[in-house]
Symmetry: C2
Subunit: 142 residues, 2 copies
């Protein structure tokens, strides 16, 4: 059964590569004292001042089961604040602290460093993003 051989798997390389990338980033993120998923949350918050847990989850495709404890760890590191909205008390608003905002300067060079190291073309990035969108579109409707 040729289709079950590991070398013919198309999804396994993505799975393995994803973990390699997380490790690659971890080396660079060590000095910021954040993990890769925490770094992704910082990316969202550097771009959008105030975000609810839901809004972060939609952008990163993560649910509250992952985000709630992750955000609490970032709050403990004083990178962000978690505040119940007064307008709607179901909502928790996430805001960066001064410390969290300042990490942006240190982090700015990381993507280009990794981009250079790995050497991906913009065509490959576009292809990958289109492919990701296709899978997500399928999965959210079913």
């Amino acid at each position: 059964m040729e289709e079950l051989k590991l070398k013919n798997q198309i999804c396994f390389p993505i799975y393995a590569l994803s973990r390699e990338i997380t490790q690659l980033y971890s080396k660079h993120l060590g000095e910021l004292d954040v993990t890769y998923p925490q770094y992704l949350v910082l990316l969202v918050l550097w771009e959008h001042a105030t975000q609810t847990v839901n809004q972060i989850g939609e952008k990163l495709f993560l649910d509250s089961g992952t985000l709630t404890p992750l955000l609490k760890r970032m709050e403990a590191k004083e990178l962000l604040t978690r505040t119940r909205s007064t307008a709607d008390e179901r909502v928790v608003e996430i805001n960066l602290t001064e410390k969290g905002m300042n990490l942006k300067h240190t982090a700015a060079c990381i993507p280009s460093q990794i981009f250079d190291e790995v050497g991906i073309t913009s065509e490959e990035v576009d292809m990958l993003r289109a492919f990701t969108n296709k899978l997500f579109a399928y999965n959210t409707k079913k």
Copy 2:
């Protein structure tokens, strides 16, 4: 800082896609009662009769911290056996049980089912394969 915007991230789509794949596979693997990482171990063992923990780890890029408990769970499900080698007592040899081998027939159709469902074209498979080979070749050498 344009390079820190989420939409310009290179590695985030790979990270998101990897999780997406695991979820897609999970739906199909439910009837086999195995997880995606456990399915990858099955792929290795369907292809290579007897494997040590090390050999599986080299093929899947996983270490004993991940594999030992995972293999114990698969042993508990009676999919495989874990036996200390008599020749070298440091080594644990993994062998499929009859039950583990028989899952191959049920699993054979899964990859093509997923491609069909999501509507992945052969062009996309080729692009994706070229892309992952490129990045993975880079990442494993350094």
